[in-house]
Each structure stands twice: as C-alpha cells, then as structure tokens.
C-alpha cells in the first residue's frame, strides 16, 4: 500500500490486497456485516475513515490539515466499530498551505557549505524519512502475488477511481505545453472556419501549365520559371477577386525566337 501527497489538501493512495490477506480479513469478520474502510491518520493521531472497495485501484483522500504527515490503513470495519487493518501505507507529508511562522534565520556561504552538507545526512525524520519509510511500514508485502495482481491492474489501466476532480479543467499552466499543443492543433485547426458550429469556406486557385523546348527560357509575367526536363511546367496561384493578366513568354535557347500569350482572368465572388 502506497500513499502520496498530491497537494496540501489531498492524498492519493493505492494498494494491492493479496488473496491470503483478504482471507484473513474474512476470517476476522466471521460472517458479521462489515465494510471496506480506508483509515487515514495524521501525525497527531487524529483519524478519518472513508468507505472503499478493497479491490479498487486507488483513492483520493481530502485531508483536514495541510503541513502534516499522514499514514493510512485499509481494512475491514464491522458494525460495532471494530476495525481490522489489512495493509498500512508509507508516511506521506502534505505540504503546508501557509508561510512558516518560524522567522528564525541562519545564513551560510553556499561555497563553504561542506559542513552543512555533512550534517544534513544525520537529519531526523523530517527529511528523507518519508521516502525511506515508503516500504518499511507495510505490514505485508503489498506486492504479494505480484505478477497476477500486476496483470489485472494493467488490464484495468486507467479505469476510474473513486474521486472526481474538483478542478479538472485544465488551467493556463506553464508546464510543458507540447502535448497540449499537438492536441489542440489537431482538434482546433480544421481549416479557416474552425470555431463555429456550422461553417463553409471555399477559395480558388489557378493552375497555369504548359510546355516548350526544355532549353528555352520561360517567364510568366516577367518572372523566370524552371522547366521540367521534358520542357513542361506547372504553376499554381492563389486567385483573389479581380483582374489578372498572366503573360507567358518563351525565348529559344539561341534567342532567335520568342513566343508569347497572355491569359486574362477575371474573378469575382457573389455572396
């Protein structure tokens, strides 16, 4: 059973109950009515129960006080209030939601911090402890019968847990926008009419094509055009409303001959 602090007000815990452990629970209940319970304790000993299904994949717990350490047990509770813990989590530290009231100051030279560094290894339980205690605290290995449990959890994948997010709407987070970007683009950029329910857009383009001797010099309205090896060419223009003259001119490689023609295009749009 593992617990993580999500923020100052919420914890997330998941567990994996082995069939053997479950059988112990049922033996304890001896047929009495009972329910699955997640019991969360804070460091001061206060606790709170939430009903859970013992086979659910995870649970979010709304906690009562930020800035404390929490530990959870999942187990069975009977109608008389008797409780049998089946698994215990690691400790998780919820961050504070208020500035520290401790105004004490200690200053060091960051380049002379070797002593400080050495001392930090001997630190008490507030530092690494929550990491280190992660697995020590479990009453039984949470991964008993691991491969089977893993497989079933795997198949269930991201199936819903018991909590629905109060703030699920994606805010303007400055975190790596790449994933969001690609997505918004796919959903949002379906053409110039995007953003409306029903839309229509249409545009015109003009294709000008032809051919001459492969070694001739070809211009369209004065601009040189590259010919394909067989002397043909294709140009494609956006065609706005208005009058357009396209003057096509070819000059032979010996410059002795010039041929030309002008396409006159008149384009308008009625709405």
């Amino acid at each position: 059973m593992v617990m993580m602090a999500r923020d100052p007000w919420w914890l997330f815990t998941y567990w994996d109950l082995s069939p053997e452990r479950m059988a112990e629970g049922l033996a304890w209940a001896q047929g009495r009515p009972h329910e699955g319970v997640l019991r969360v304790y804070d460091e001061a000993g206060a606790w709170q129960d939430s009903p859970v299904h013992l086979d659910q994949l995870g649970h979010y717990v709304n906690i009562w006080a930020p800035g404390r350490q929490y530990v959870a047990e999942v187990g069975l509770r009977d109608q008389q209030g008797g409780f049998l813990p089946l698994l215990r989590s690691n400790f998780a530290s919820a961050p504070p939601d208020q500035p520290s009231s401790d105004l004490g100051e200690e200053w060091v030279d960051i380049f002379g911090a070797a002593a400080l560094w050495a001392a930090s290894w001997c630190r008490g339980p507030q530092g690494l402890s929550s990491m280190d205690l992660a697995l020590l605290a479990s009453p039984s290995s949470p991964w008993g019968g691991a491969s089977e449990h893993l497989a079933s959890a795997w198949m269930a994948g991201s199936l819903a847990s018991s909590w629905s997010s109060p703030g699920a709407a994606w805010g303007a987070s400055p975190s790596s926008p790449w994933g969001a970007a690609a997505g918004q683009g796919q959903a949002g950029a379906a053409g110039p009419g995007r953003g409306r329910k029903f839309f229509l857009w249409s545009k015109t383009e003009l294709i000008l094509y032809g051919g001459t001797e492969p070694d001739a010099a070809l211009t369209v309205s004065g601009k040189p055009v590259a010919l394909r090896p067989d002397g043909t060419f294709t140009l494609r223009f956006a065609l706005p409303d208005g009058d357009l003259d396209l003057e096509v001119k070819a000059i032979s490689v010996d410059q002795a001959e010039t041929l030309g023609m002008t396409h006159q295009v008149k384009k308008g749009t009625r709405r």
Binding site: A5, D7, W107, L150, A156, A172, G183, L244
Partner: protein
C-alpha cells in the same frame, strides 16, 4: 559583468522533449515535435545568440537542454530525418512564394518563411554540420549561455517514492550532460519544477549546485525566507534554490495578459497544412493523408473570434521590440522597488519559461529576446542579465531554508501528474523501481549479457518515468501514444527483469531493445544501488 546594477535578471529557458525515436517507421508523427522545435525554436534561439555575438552585445541566458533532448540532437537517424524535413519545408515555402504571388497580403509572410527555412537549412547543415549541440556548446564556452541539465527523462521526482529512483534520474542526467557537452552541469531544472524535501540531497551528491522552484515552493519554505523569491536560499543539503518571480512570468506566460496573445502576433493554430487544398499540401503532410501542422501560418491572432486577419511580419516585429521595452521597463521599476526593501543586497529576478514557447508557440519570441538583450545593454544600467551561477559567485551568502514540496503545474503541486487520468501509472513505476533497486543490490558486478540486460532494464524504467506521458494523459490529446509508451517501457522492463532473474538473456531480443531505446549509452544500472556505492 561590470558596474553595479540595482539587481539581476536571470532568463531561464527550459528546452525539453521526450525521447521519441521510431526507426521502425519511415515517417512517425510524434517525431515532428523535435523537427518543429529545431526549426522554430532551437535554431532561431541560436541564430539570435549569433546576432548578439556578432554585434558585440553581451548577453546572459540560462538554458536547460534536457537529457532526452540532447540524446535526440545527438542521434544520427533523427538528424538525417531532420535534414529531410527542412529540405521539404524549403521546397514547400518556395511553392508558397509562387502561389501567393497575386496575394500581396500573404506573399511577404511566405517570403519570410522561405528565408527562415533556408537559413535554418544552411545553419543546420553547413554551419553546424547537423550538430546543434556543438552550436549550443559554442555559446556556453563563451560564457554567454549557461547550460543546465534536467532529470534524466524529465522524471517527476515528487512522485517517486524511492531515494534510489530519484538518485538514478539525477545522476544519469549529469553523466549524459557531461558526455555530450563536455562539462558537468552546475545547475538543474527539476522536471516541472517538481520538488520535495530530500531531492536536494541527491542533487548535492551529484555535484549540482543550484536548482529552481516555483515561487510558492520557496515562500512556503521553513523557516520563512526573509528575501522572498528575490534571493536564492541554501537548502540543508547545501544546494542553492532559486525561485520563479510570478510577476515577470505572468507578463510572458499568461494567455490573456501576456505578450504572446497580442493581436499583431502570429496565430499558432491557422496552419497551411489544414488550410490549403489537399492535393497541393499532400507532399508536406503525413504520408497517410493526415493533415498536420507544417509551420507555415499566414494569420495573426487578430482577436478572440475565428476570423483572422493576414499576418504582417514587420508590424509583428515592431510589436516584439515594444514588448521588450515594456518588459525591461517593468524590471527596472521592480528592481528600484526591491532595492528599497533589500538594503545591502542586490535582488535577482528569475524568469523561467519553456524554451519552446519562444518561436514555436510565440513565433516572435526570439525577436523579443534579442531586442530585450540589446536594450538591456544599450539603454540602461539598473538591470543586469546574469546566470544563476554568476549571481551565486557575487552573493554567496544565503539564508538556510527548507523549501516546500511544489511544482509549477496547475494548482502548484502534483495534480497534473497525479489525477484520475494518469494515477494508474504510479503503481507500475513504483513496482518497477523497487525491483530495479533489488536487482542493482543483488548484482554488484555482473558481466556480459547480464550486465547489458540490467543496463537496458534501467533505461526502460527511466523512459517509462518521463512525466510527459502523464502530462499528455491529463491534457487528453495524443493519449494513445502516451499510454502506449508507458506500457511498452514497463513491459520491456519486466521482460528484461525476467531474463536477469532467470539468468537466461535472450541476446537478439536484448540487442533489439538496445537498438530501439538507445538513450544514455553511458548508463550503469548500479546507479540504482541503495548503498550509493556507485
């Protein structure tokens, strides 16, 4: 640095992309992330630094080059594919210049794309010989650019339970950085600014001297930091922690009040890949016929509605210069204000951004930065651009504060990476981490194929830990890919674990995994040992 400014400004750009490399496909959609970032962000930023260097304008910029990004920039296959991509973009832009010939409102923009793509091609292929890392290194060696690292695969440390897993992310990052950039990093950008107490010890042990927090991570620290976010603190482990300044961040980040939302700037979403005739754009979209972003976009943001006006590159440039002036003005006022409250100490304002904001999202971002550095140099002396390291050298005396768990994600904590859309990944990541530590402890000095299998298992675990996957699951787009990557790496991890546990390494299967997930060739799985003997 010269003179005595009122305070310092540290601009920090965090460049990262997840390791996406699919030799098994000729054209893989998600590889576009890298290609787009190279064309639209990394090359423009390098070009900007080149302009400043050429004109003798001193500047100071700090950039993360995340280990997966470095690995991809160093990769021969992806480099070759990028060359193909930029060739295709140049060809597309040439056709666009032709096509828009009778549309003057779009032709200038088409010409700008053609010019920029040609420049990108020439810089990438001719000037830097396909080695962007070398170009970044050049500016690092000149002292203008401080390159820092990130967690190895952008792993989100607050949700890793084991100290060994945190340590492996950090040490792997440092080693990879050292191999590819020739020097150990002095600082680290923790993925998503994600911090929990205890992480600082792994950083210190890996030789890292500073990292970054979001503002509240420091403000809620213990004891209360006297100078707020305007001076770094020393953690108990002796690492300096710099905090993000909310004010300067908002001016750039906010989609409503921020500069990038200006109506004159280029609209990101209207792209030729979606707007133009299918047959015509076909060669420049996905071979399957799926339309996609090409990077050629002709409209400006205009306003909130769907109707968009044509983009005017000259007007947009002018606006970027104005915004740079406004940003500088605000920092000057900020420094004056802070100086009055911080006697005897120069404040530092830390302004971190995702690098890909500049150029990719905010097309004019690199122009803004260039204008900002020019103005900071030429027009005033109150605000001096500095790297965090330079600041520490000048102001080494720091208050000792234990920062609070925090991130720069939505709501400031871990919710983006831990919510009902993605919480299922952690049981798998934790389980695999536990097993990896056991394997590392049980195999002090394996040889041959077993050693390789364990190294590869460590690579698969690290790749599965990329916070990008959980992030994508949360944002709800490209989810299939993120789920697939998580599952694949975890499945590969257990496959290798089985080989190692049974002492029967399937050589061809191992070789195939090594060739495919070829990140961190220098990785030694013993980085996961509990006794830190490695």
């Amino acid at each position: 640095m010269s003179g005595e400014p009122l305070g310092y400004l540290a601009l920090v750009l965090h460049a990262h992309l997840p390791f996406v490399r699919h030799p098994e496909y000729e054209d893989f959609l998600e590889e576009d992330w890298l290609h787009e970032a190279i064309t639209e962000t990394y090359i423009p930023l390098l070009a900007m630094m080149g302009h400043l260097e050429q004109d003798g304008v001193p500047f100071r910029l700090t950039m993360t080059l995340s280990p997966p990004l470095l690995a991809m920039l160093d990769d021969e296959l992806l480099t070759r594919r990028y060359q193909r991509r930029i060739e295709s973009l140049v060809e597309f832009a040439e056709r666009e210049v032709e096509r828009t010939r009778f549309e003057p409102a779009f032709n200038a923009t088409a010409r700008q794309y053609l010019e920029r793509f040609r420049q990108a091609r020439s810089l990438f292929s001719d000037a830097w010989h396909g080695r962007l890392i070398g170009a970044f290194r050049h500016f690092a060696e000149s002292g203008s650019l401080e390159i820092i690292t990130c967690t190895a695969t952008h792993g989100y440390l607050p949700l890793m339970l084991r100290r060994e897993a945190v340590r492996a992310q950090v040490f792997t990052a440092v080693r990879s950085h050292q191999r590819l950039l020739g020097a150990a990093p002095r600082g680290i950008w923790l993925a998503e600014c994600g911090y929990v107490p205890g992480v600082d010890e792994a950083l210190r042990e890996a030789g890292l001297r500073y990292f970054f927090l979001d503002g509240h991570g420091l403000l809620l620290g213990h004891p209360r930091p006297r100078l707020g976010v305007f001076a770094p603190v020393a953690t108990r482990a002796g690492v300096a922690a710099f905090a993000r300044d909310p004010e300067s961040s908002k001016q750039v980040w906010s989609s409503k009040e921020g500069y990038p939302g200006d109506p004159a700037y280029r609209d990101f979403y209207r792209d030729a890949g979606y707007d133009l005739d299918f047959d015509y754009v076909r060669p420049y979209i996905h071979p399957s016929g799926l339309r996609k972003f090409t990077g050629i976009k002709y409209h400006r943001i205009t306003g909130p509605g769907a109707a968009k006006e044509p983009y005017d590159p000259a007007a947009a440039h002018q606006r970027a210069v104005e915004h740079a002036g406004n940003f500088m003005f605000n920092r000057q006022r900020q420094m004056e204000h802070l100086a009055a409250h911080m006697p005897g100490r120069q404040p530092i304002v830390v302004a971190p951004y995702d690098a890909e904001l500049y150029g990719h999202w905010w097309y004019e971002g690199p122009e803004f930065l260039e204008a900002l550095f020019r103005k900071l140099h030429a027009e005033q002396s109150q605000v001096l651009a500095a790297t965090p390291w330079e600041y520490l050298e000048r102001q080494p005396r720091l208050q000792v504060v234990e920062p609070s768990a925090s991130s720069w994600g939505y709501q400031g904590y871990h919710e983006v990476w831990l919510n009902p859309s993605n919480d299922w990944v952690y049981r798998h990541l934790h389980k695999a981490s536990d097993r990896m530590v056991e394997l590392a402890n049980a195999n002090p000095d394996p040889g041959g194929a077993l050693r390789r299998a364990l190294d590869q298992a460590a690579r698969e675990l690290l790749l599965a830990q990329s916070s990008d996957w959980a992030f994508i699951m949360k944002t709800g787009t490209m989810v299939d890919y993120a789920v697939r990557r998580t599952r694949e790496h975890i499945a590969r991890f257990w496959r290798l674990e089985r080989m190692a546990a049974q002492g029967r390494v399937e050589e061809p299967a191992l070789a195939a995994l090594e060739a495919r997930d070829c990140v961190f060739p220098e990785l030694d799985f013993r980085v996961y040992r509990s006794d830190h003997a490695f």
